[in-house]
């Protein structure tokens, strides 16, 4: 029964998607009004809600006649993981995809004006994307396929999901980012088809782009944090294909967030922006293909289910269709080149875009080259962290330099003496701080350069804020606060820049000064560890509803002071033989102490003990980037509402 309702929801949404494509195209060509799009748009939303609702209901009512429930749920799965199981596995994750996409459909629908051709065209494009995903649900990835023999109990939720709730939050955040990027893509395609050379598509999608970018950033950060706090290998980023899949669209989306400013301010780069948006959307589909088809585990296994080939075909259709259209019509929308001088804010933005595009290209090559090589020649090659780092570190350092210069550089042309007056203050601060760090014993050259660049970025932004606040008529603290409210787009960006600077320092320090030591203990034994003393108090064991937790209790002390206890654990789940290790992390101002359990028995315990300096700086930097991104669209909306309210009172 539940399965029937859920599948009916998928069909309703799929049929409505066809309706949206047809009606969107007709409204685009002006044959019908935009009000006729309301029915198919809401049809998608209702169908998607039915599908997701049915899936949740099936999970909550232990309906093991549905294969998805039998595979991803059991009677003793805790409630929170039962709910999250609805998107923890392939078929369910596509249902969530459809639900989020339908949310964006409604949002775009509500933004339509009467006789809105470009918006109608965009909805038709989103309809096509929705048709693909609901088609996938109806065929290859049907979450409601039933079992002839109904098992008494299911095999339980994915152990990695049950191990930490972040695993339930991280994918939807990424999806919000991935799927949100469909909106600017759809508006760009609509403008291309119409041959509309105005920048209205860009203005209209700016907020969606920022929202999507912010959620994508948050998703990546949560993934890294999960990797660090839960996986227990001691790192947060490994240039793993799955990680790269999320980074790729982020890099091009970041390039777009910046280049769209140039287009708004100076009317440049229209065609380039469209190419960026198309690439970004294609990269989200590539990422979905890489993570959801099994192609990474083995190049030859991805054809075992029809989902891999379907996603690959969809990717090719998008690439050929969009870039074919782009090749035919870009000349109609291209803006005339208006670059006065490379020594200008536009020039720095171009540098930013060049570096980010090359960065994305490098990550793309490194990620898919092994797959292509193996698929065509059977030859295997590993492309790992050393290869990525060699390109990523210099590119990132130059990006940091551009980030420091950009906000201080005027548009059109930066006269040398003006530029010098603007940068000499930040340069002095940065140089003094760098010398102090070197005096304090900081050595590797990359870390020293990172400190210099980060200090340059932060002091440049602080200087800007100080100047503007001083120039205002209001008292200084209030003027500083109102700066952020007056121009949320710019200052949200600056907050994000400060976040990137802190993140860079965190990455440089933890990467260069992190240390690992493998130590064996007998119960009651103590061992020195990087200036601390670790004492093994003994093993612990407790049974939780869904798992057995085996831990090792440690006391961390420095001299005679006890700093705290740590308990690295192994979590044993009934549906998996291999226990899942969970590290124990003590975050400190100077450094994190991070213990991961390697082996435990009655005689003793072996642990990997790590020290990572300034990790809190890394995470708070990442959080600032998200806050900055969030402020740039929340603040914008607030401002718009405030001015609307003001206008209303004046009338």
């Amino acid at each position: 029964m539940i399965a029937t309702v859920g599948y009916a929801g998928i069909l309703v949404a799929g049929a409505s998607a066809i309706g949206l494509v047809v009606q969107g195209a007709r409204a685009f060509s002006g044959r019908i009004g935009t009000d006729r799009l309301r029915l198919p748009a809401w049809g998608i939303a209702v169908g998607a809600i039915m599908a997701m609702g049915a899936l949740e209901l099936a999970l909550l009512t232990d309906d093991f006649s549905i294969e998805y429930v039998a595979r991803n749920h059991s009677r003793d799965t805790p409630l929170i993981f039962t709910i999250a199981s609805a998107w923890a596995s392939l078929e369910g994750s596509i249902v969530l995809w459809g639900l989020i996409l339908s949310g964006f459909v409604i949002a775009v629908l509500r933004s339509l004006e009467a006789d809105d051709r470009s918006g109608s065209g965009a909805l038709a494009v989103i309809g096509l994307v929705a048709l693909f995903f609901f088609g996938l649900m109806a065929t290859a990835a049907n979450p409601f396929s039933t079992l002839d023999i109904v098992p008494l109990d299911g095999s339980g939720a994915n152990p990695l999901l049950q191990n930490h709730i972040l695993m339930a939050i991280h994918p939807p955040m990424l999806y919000l980012g991935y799927i949100g990027l469909t909106v600017p893509f759809a508006f760009a395609i609509s403008a291309l088809v119409a041959g509309d050379g105005s920048t209205s598509w860009l203005q209209r999608t700016r907020r969606w782009t920022l929202i999507a970018w912010t959620f994508l950033t948050l998703g990546i950060v949560l993934g890294a944090w999960w990797s660090y706090e839960v996986l227990g290998w001691g790192g947060y980023w490994a240039w793993d294909p799955v990680e790269n899949a999320s980074l790729l669209p982020w890099l091009t989306a970041t390039a777009f967030v910046h280049s769209s400013i140039v287009q708004r301010r100076r009317g440049m780069l229209q065609a380039w922006n469209m190419a960026l948006v198309i690439s970004t959307f294609a990269l989200t589909i590539l990422g979905t293909f890489l993570t959801r088809s099994g192609v990474i585990a083995s190049v030859h296994s991805f054809t075992q289910s029809a989902i891999g080939p379907a996603l690959l075909v969809f990717l090719v259709v998008i690439l050929v269709g969009s870039f074919g259209l782009f090749a035919l019509r870009a000349h109609l929308v291209a803006s005339p080149p208006r670059l006065d001088s490379l020594a200008s804010r536009e020039g720095v933005f171009l540098l930013n875009n060049l570096l980010l595009a090359v960065f994305a290209f490098v990550v793309l090559i490194g990620t898919i080259y092994p797959l292509i090589l193996e698929a065509f020649s059977g030859d295997r090659v590993s492309v790992g962290a050393p290869w990525f780092d060699r390109a990523a570190i210099p590119l990132s350092l130059v990006l940091l330099l551009a980030m420091g210069l950009g906000p201080l550089t005027p548009y059109r042309f930066a006269a040398p003496d003006l530029m010098w007056r603007r940068i000499r203050g930040p340069l002095q601060t940065a140089s003094i701080l760098t010398a102090a760090a070197v005096l304090g014993g900081v050595r590797p050259i990359t870390v020293v350069i990172t400190i210099w660049l980060a200090a340059f970025i932060v002091s440049g932004i602080a200087g800007l804020a100080h100047q503007r606040a001083q120039a205002a008529n209001t008292p200084y603290p209030r003027a500083l606060g109102s700066l952020f409210r007056a121009d949320p787009g710019f200052w949200g960006g600056m907050v994000a820049h400060v976040g990137v600077a802190l993140l860079a320092i965190g990455i440089a320090f933890s990467g260069s000064f992190g240390a690992r030591q493998t130590i064996g203990f007998e119960p009651g034994e103590s061992a020195p560890f990087g200036g601390y003393t670790l004492t093994y108090e003994g093993p612990t064991q407790r049974d939780e509803p869904n798992r057995r937790v085996i831990g090792a209790l440690f006391t961390l002390s420095r001299g005679d002071t006890v700093l705290g206890t740590l308990e690295p654990r192994l979590n044993q789940y009934p549906n998996q033989v291999q226990a899942i290790p969970t590290p124990s992390v003590r975050t400190g101002l100077r450094e994190d102490v991070y213990l991961s359990l390697v082996r435990i028995d009655s005689d003793g315990v072996t642990i990997d003990a790590f020290r990572f300096p300034l990790m809190w700086l890394l995470w708070s930097g990442a959080l600032l980037i998200v806050i900055g991104g969030g402020w740039s669209f929340v603040g914008r909306k607030r401002r718009r509402e405030l001015s609307a309210a003001k206008a209303a009172t004046v009338v």
Binding site: W233, A238, L339, D379, S382, V438, R443
Partner: protein, 148 residues
């Protein structure tokens, strides 16, 4: 403070700080480079999907880490150690592929991309003509900046 004095102070402060940093870094001899670790970071743990010998917590990786340590102690060069691992586990043990055969693509592609991108931007710039001189433009910009 006059404009000239500010410039002078800035130049002295920046120059002195950077000179100090560069001199200290250049004369620093405490080479704490852990050769075993950096080699282990460039070799894949053979039973893992993508983790290096240095990162993987598996027993195989620990044994190989110790093996690298012995090889370094016995005076093997980096290339000899890599050769040994390639002979035992195949090319895919190298996380940092060597630029041989078709793998050259991995090395050329980033450089070519950067060159093409740079050329496009430079070409865009060259394709324009100017209507006003640089000096005039500077004056206008400066005036606008004073305003803003």
């Amino acid at each position: 403070m006059s404009e000239r004095l500010r410039t002078l102070t800035a130049l002295i402060v920046i120059g002195a700080s950077l000179l100090f940093s560069v001199v200290v870094l250049a004369t620093d001899s405490t080479g704490t480079n852990d050769r075993v670790h950096s080699l282990a970071e460039r070799l894949k743990c053979p039973i893992c999907t993508s983790e290096s010998v240095a990162d993987s917590p598996s027993q195989v990786a620990r044994d190989l880490y110790d093996l690298i340590g012995e090889q370094v102690a016995d005076g093997w060069t980096d290339d000899e150690i890599f050769e040994f691992f390639v002979a035992t586990y195949g090319e895919e043990v190298l996380l940092d592929p060597r630029a041989r055969g078709t793998r050259i693509v991995l090395w050329l592609a980033p450089v070519v991309a950067l060159a093409i991108g740079g050329a496009v931007i430079a070409g865009r710039r060259a394709g324009q003509h100017r209507e006003i001189s640089d000096a005039d433009r500077a004056r206008i910009t400066a005036a606008l900046e004073e305003e803003g």
